[in-house]
């Protein structure tokens, strides 16, 4: 945890550290099965193009997402995380996304407190019918993370690429 935080503080405090050429961020997308995952499938069936940086993990509900997952992602592989669920009021599991929303707010504050830029973790509501919206969300998140630069400068392959 300390190592991650230090690393992040470096990238905030010394913005002159520029990303290696051809650097592409890795973004983990954790999507709920009933709305956002179905929405991302619709983006595919509609052939709407978006940046290829996101890697999608399917969970039953956004309320399944443990803050641990977000911390672990940033600690190990990801430069940013997107969590997406059903629109408030539309949760397949009645109220799961409300729990998720509150939990994310707190997690965001915590990560911010230890030195992560708040754009590293982002949340959105994408319904099963919002294919174009999902593409837009991914494009925006990717752009935001690109601006922030690599989180894992120590990763050897980032320099090799």
């Amino acid at each position: 945890m300390e190592a991650v935080a230090n690393n992040q503080l470096v990238s905030i405090e010394k913005p002159e550290i520029v990303a290696p050429p051809n650097w592409e961020p890795v973004i983990i997308g954790i999507l709920c099965n009933w709305c956002s995952y179905a929405g991302s499938d619709l983006t595919g069936t509609s052939r709407i193009q978006y940046p290829p940086n996101i890697r999608i993990i399917r969970v039953p509900c956004s309320s399944r997402v443990d803050p641990w997952f977000l911390i672990k992602s940033l600690q190990t592989t990801a430069d940013g995380v997107l969590v997406s669920g059903c629109h408030p009021g539309d949760c397949h599991y009645i109220s799961g996304n409300y729990y998720a929303r509150r939990r994310f707010l707190v997690t965001k504050k915590l990560l911010n407190f230890v030195g992560f830029h708040e754009d590293r973790i982002q949340f959105s509501w994408v319904s099963a019918a919002e294919g174009p919206k999902f593409a837009k969300v991914v494009a925006k998140v990717t752009e935001d993370i690109k601006k922030l630069g690599p989180l894992h400068l120590y990763k050897k392959e980032n320099f090799e690429k």
Binding site: D41, Q49, R55
Partner: protein, 657 residues
Amino acid sequence: MARVGVFVCFCGANIADFVDVPKVVEEAKRIREVKFAIDYKYMCSDPGQQQIRDAITQYRLTSIVVAACSPRMHEKTFRKALSDAGMNPYLLEVANIREHSSWVHQKDKKAATEKASDLVRMAVAKSIANEQLHEISVPVTKRALVIGGGIAGIQAALDIADARIPVVLVEKSPSIGGKMAQLDETFPTLDCSQCILTPKMVDVASHPYIELIPYAEVLELEGFVGNYKAKIRKKASYVNFKTCTGCGTCWQKCPVKVPNEYNMGIDKRKAIYTPFPQAVPNKPVIDAAHCTMLTKGKCGICAKVCEKGSIDYKMQDEIIEREIGAVVVATGYDLWDPKPYEEYGVGRFKDIITSLEFERMVSANGPTNGVPVRPSDGKVPKNVVFIKCIGSRDEAKGIEYCSKICCMYTTKHTILLHHKVHDSHAYVFYMDIRAAGKGYEEFVKKAQVDTAATYLRGRVSKIYKKGDKLIVRGEDAQIGQVVEVVADLVVLATAVIPPKDNPDLARLLGVSYDKYGYMSEAHPKLRPVETAKAGIFLAGCTQAPKDIPDTVAQASACAAKVCGIFSGDTMKKDPMISTVNNEYCTGCQNCVKVCPYGAIVTEEVPMGHGSKEMRTVAKINEGVCQGCGSCVAVCRSMAISLAGFTDLQIINEIVSI
């Protein structure tokens, strides 16, 4: 050591054109745990599945990754392939390299290929942590609850009961029959509504498998499919149905007159009443809001005249509990109040009535003996103007949708008017004539010829009074001019709306509803009678406006679905649910608070180490748990685990990218 097999699909050209499939296979082979990897043109085809089955035995594989389309598409197909090969089907993981890679990164094959390899690696990592899971079987209570005793509820109840499954039919009003009992004749065949409905009502009352609870409402429904518990409040009728013979002396002698709901308030009923002569059950109830004995303690005539002594002014509401396996909701519809149409003088002019009021008037058992009359002076009208789409398709004043039935019943009304008043003339203001249905267009065409009604395409902008006539001013869009029609009677085809308490009932049942208050089906095309909540089905207008044929068809479909649930003594359920590890559970009960289904309760277990002390731990009712995982995320001691989405599985995915 895990032995994973990876199967990468071309999906014809869908994947192969934008992802370098052989490269993905090659990358997969570099993963230590992958013992076998292959690509194929169509993995979902039978030869494709055969490759999976063969490889499972040949390479002694412990989990399978199929890289193909979305798991929402073919997960079931591949799971079946696994179990056919004797492997636990839940050892499968699907890497979605079509919807999430080849279709969305068509301009960058290199990146798409890299992403596909990553997705495969993630799936492999997850599959290593997959556990063998088994479908859960839940016992089933074979009894259905039907809410609403209109034609939808009647049909559903009869169909289910005919399959020898007990049915509890709960009806809000004192009699079953619903709106259909108020209709005179029905389109497009002009069958007498009473003649086709009342035999069914009698069947309900006499069916050995139907328990009819009239004058009652559902208060609570808890549990889950196959195992619901319903609490029903039977309103006090103040009449002992067991001894009452339905002789009618009480309502003949009752001095209190109340507007008659059955006849749309055109005439009056008594405070002790049966809604209509053919009511089922044909026993009276006392309207507690109007009976002077119950409100002021004065009168008591009905008790005096009742020879059987069936009147009981002290009767209380009764709570009935029933164990239920499935529910059919058939609460029907209401009609929109046209008051916002102030420019028509609704509420000021007595000779503007709604379609259902007209229906009651032309009804043989109606308050005017089947002859339409003007409410203002009781004269028989000659010129009658029918205006369609009152409230329907009107975003400004009413609702956006089409009520579906008004075009047809207005056509029927022109015919009925023509039959009852031979020298009358009907004018119909319409926006469109929507006559889609078997025999509907023919019905409209024939009615237009037979009745010689004047059809005017356009909206009415104003109605005003001149003498004792109403002047209806509207546009005839086909000649592009404003026209004025001198009318004796104006009939408004008001919109169909859901019953006012539909959202309350939906919340009580845990079913979602739309912005108008109609309950929502699980899928608009492919699951039109199911709700998103397992074991609750929708029949008739509670879901959307419908005519009688559609309602009856949907009710029968509900019955088929209910019989399907009851076809075995137990039901199969997805095993992706939470489990508690008692060793870790501290009994904090955070999980109990967040569970949206109330599936988590507590239990006492021994402290351990030979101690006699007990401690509290969480316990999950596997029949109720739907597998959302809310409890897992709030569990501080990591005691709860969600099968199929364990912490280990997800962390494996995260770290393997």
